[in-house]
Symmetry: C2
Subunit: 555 residues, 2 copies
């Protein structure tokens, strides 16, 4: 095995980080080590004591360091791979998860006198407390007809970079002033490993209003948000952004010492977890929609040009692979809806049957649901339990279930929920196609496809498209990171010269595919029309009952 | 106690009959005996063997006889009341539950050579196999602009008298020919007890197209339905109908012998269970809506004139008490929806909590639901699990639940279902008031009010009206029958001269009443507007998705 070369992929998730050791020539995973974050998602009180307000979600950058320190040696050991044979390192991160640091990269939350200040910590992607700031950004952006409004399908999110920075300024100007750099964790970890602050174009493009060629909005825009923000780009961010797969630098001596890797091992520019998964599912061309399916779904698609597609999360040139436009869309709850149903909607007779058959209750439920034919339940649902991301971009929408009779059973409701999420994906597919961006087939990765054959078949039947599965469903992002590590190394360094080459050799799909069944597709075409009618009625102003109910709920 | 006089009320229900012994001077119930029907609801196979088709529901008249034979002696014994002190007997029945008999009243199903024929048996009220016949009746009725179409709020039901008779003719002309009398069980039992075939105006008016003053539709109408039916009224029904409370006759010697009662004891004209409950809840005047609340709700209201109110089950002069118009409306599923939810929608955490607290799970659920404020769930539902009776008269409508989020809990759904049924009642209340028929307060009887304080309070809050409860919630119909027995006896015979007098002395309400809370009513006014918008959108042709889904369900 001495001729084999390897790269490491380090995937920084929400609750833990994962290090994988991947063989360069064929993408085989030799080992994987998962390191949970000791502080996890910080949403109740800071590790230093103070209580957080509602909707906050922070992280401790120390946990990211720990993933590398512990995870790399552990994975290398498990893989029986030597440092000499590791030719590159790639990383990927949740986004947008930015943090304030000093000029040298020290997070403000590491500064003793600031560690009790919530705004000194990493704001995790799902920190939702910057909605007022997002509203202001959208208002000013629309008034000034800023390009980013179009890039983001009409709306800049409260989860993103500048909403979070503006919240710091609004609520803690002293922290804003102390912030010498405001930086995505994706870029910060690369800075730590290489000693070089080199930011990636992906988070810049998808989360921070940066557009290839024209850069950020003008100073006028930032001044209009807040006069103190006029020079934010020069002061705290910078204007240099580096393309995906480029080498950010070599591993520092200190990190080589800590991990057992060689000093100077090439480290690639930072990546985003959803985006980096695309080439890892073999997709580097137009026509295949990649679905990262878990609690939610991210839909990633490549296109040859820029199109304004309704309700996109972002449309970024070179945003996924070089030379193509990366489109990102999403459904804000999918696995989460099923988890909700498992918790709140499964009656006693399902649990009883599961005990009798000695299977998990979800298996009992799925078996019954799978025995139904499309349309048999007489139910149709709107999958808006967590609002609608694409294509309506409206967090105040909510779920609907319609068609219940006294004969309706739990497995029928479960199947209707699955179908509703499939209709949500089909709505996104049709939004792309309505703008001439082809979706010929689907490629899935993530946790959901592995667990749920019924769901995958329904998605194929509803969309009328074949679905392929990534070989490594659950470690797609880590594999994608490792592939970028190989590109950072380059062919001369034992890797590849492009992500296209890397994908050809390192990424694979499973033999198992889900093919649409014509007779089911025909029934689902009719059901989808019903979904669409309800979608438009409740989602496009026909009846704003959901918004009024949410207002009443707030009291 | 020798001065006390009593009447018997015999309430013939769906699964059993009940005999109550009531003191005439104050309505106090001295004893109650319930006799289950040995053959119950016959909906799978005849006691004589043959299998029934889907949607059939029959009964055996022998079971009615048994209720009197066994129940009367049992109740008298329990009450320690002597035959000499029983001054009258009243009965009430489900309706429309007609049967074919010979000229002497012998049910055709008692005739040995016919007993294996399904059409020879009693067609119970919930026999639903005569829908094609109901459709034909409505078609012909509308074409000919028949009065009954207006009386029944626009639609004659498959559950009613002539739909069932026409089904006999369609499917078994030989039974139709053998049918010398086609008669409601309500009238048949009175015929048995007194030897006189004297039919009541209530079933005639509410179920059989009969209108006080003008009688039945013309022969032309019946000929248009089927030429063989031209003379059906003279041949099988008759034109004499007797008002409620009138004495039908005295108990026969044979029945006196069987029951231990005195020969000649006055027996009143037959009654219908829902209608006879009205005076038993004290209501004999306009302004109080009586709700008989169980698996469904019957809404009974008195008015001073005839009005066409949308979606009524019937509007009959003297139909409930003499001198007033009796309006009947209804919700086709109420308790049934909750029973559905208890079976199909209650998750494990409710059952666990109930076990821990050692209470029934419904109590655990209700406690949580009661702790919510109106609007807090963010949910709204349409209560159409079994279609909509009043005011839309559409069996193909189905249930809706709207507003779910990942935080929605089972008790919130339960409360939303209760609220939806209350909105259904409010819709009926508003239909009455829109025609100038006042609904000042509500009076409830039946099984639901006793079990569910939360439900009753929500009905008060939603309708903005005080709700009184009948003293005897569950035996209201039997009490009403006994009151009519007292009227049949007359003051001279130890009873009363009118149902008004009887109600004054024999009927009572509880001290406990449910009063609307202004702040809750205000929130429910807003929620009701949302219900109305959905009601009209899905129920009045804005989106016929429910009908299309039911069609798809049928395959």
């Amino acid at each position: 095995m001495s001729k084999d070369k390897f790269t490491l992929g380090i995937d920084f998730g929400t609750e833990s980080g994962r290090v994988v050791v991947i063989r360069v020539r064929d993408g085989v995973e030799f080992a994987s080590a998962v390191i949970p974050y000791p502080d996890g998602v910080i949403d109740e009180r800071l590790p230093s004591g103070p209580k957080l307000e509602h909707d906050w979600a922070l992280q401790n950058p120390r946990d990211y360091i720990l993933v590398v320190e512990k995870g790399v040696p552990k994975a290398l050991k498990a893989a029986k791979v030597k440092a000499d044979d590791v030719v590159g390192i790639g990383t990927d991160f949740t986004a947008s998860s930015p943090m304030p640091t000093k000029r040298d990269g020290t997070p403000l939350c590491f500064v003793p006198q600031l560690r009790k200040h919530p705004h000194a910590w990493v704001k995790l992607w799902k920190h939702h407390a910057a909605q007022p700031e997002a509203n202001r950004i959208n208002e000013v952006g629309r008034e000034r007809n800023e390009e980013f409004i179009r890039v983001y399908g009409g709306k800049y999110s409260s989860e993103w970079f500048f909403s979070k920075l503006l919240q710091v300024l609004d609520e803690a100007p002293e922290i804003y002033d102390a912030t010498e750099r405001f930086i995505e964790a994706a870029d910060w970890i690369v800075w730590q490993l290489t000693g070089a602050e080199k930011r990636n174009t992906c988070t810049a493009g998808y989360k921070a209003m940066w557009v290839k060629g024209s850069g950020f909005p003008s100073k006028d825009f930032y001044r209009a948000l807040d006069p103190r923000m006029e020079n934010v780009i020069e002061e705290k961010i910078g204007t240099a952004f580096y393309p995906l797969g480029e080498k950010a630098g070599g591993l520092t001596a200190e990190w080589a010492h800590k991990t057992g890797l060689k000093e100077g091992t090439p480290v690639s520019i930072g990546n985003v977890d959803a985006h980096v998964a695309v080439p890892a599912t073999t997709v580097t061309e137009v026509g295949s929609l990649v679905m990262i399916m878990g609690t939610s779904i991210c839909h990633m698609l490549l296109g040859t040009g820029k199109q304004m597609v309704e309700g996109m999360c972002g449309t970024v040139e070179d945003g996924i692979v070089p030379g193509l436009w990366g489109y990102e869309a999403g459904q804000s709850a999918v696995g989460d809806i099923f988890a909700w149903f498992f918790e709140h909607g499964v009656p006693d007779y399902i649990h009883r049957e599961a005990r009798q058959r000695k299977v998990p209750f979800v298996a009992a439920l799925e078996k019954r649901a799978a025995a139904l034919r499309p349309g048999e339940s007489g139910l149709v649902a709107l999958d808006w339990w967590n609002g609608n991301r694409s294509i309506l971009v409206d967090v105040d929408l909510s779920g609907v279930l319609l068609g219940m009779t006294l004969a309706t059973r739990a497995e029928e409701i479960y199947r209707a929920l699955i179908e509703a999420t499939a209709f949500g994906t089909r709505t996104i597919v049709e939004a792309f196609e309505s703008k001439g961006i082809a979706v010929k087939n689907l490629v899935a990765c993530g946790g959901l496809p592995e667990k749920n054959r019924l769901l995958m078949q329904i998605y194929a039947d509803v969309t009328g498209r074949e679905i392929k599965l990534a070989q490594q469903l659950q470690t797609c992002s880590a594999l994608g990171a490792a592939m970028h590590g190989a590109v950072a190394a380059g062919r001369a360094g034992g890797g590849y010269d492009s992500i296209f080459e890397a994908a050809k050799h390192m990424a694979r799909v499973q033999k198992l595919t889900y093919k649409p069944r014509a007779e089911h597709h025909e029934v689902y075409n009719r059901l989808f029309k019903e979904y669409q009618a309800l979608h438009d009625y409740f989602g496009r102003g026909g009846n704003d009952v959901m918004k009024r109910l949410k207002e009443m709920r707030r009291g």
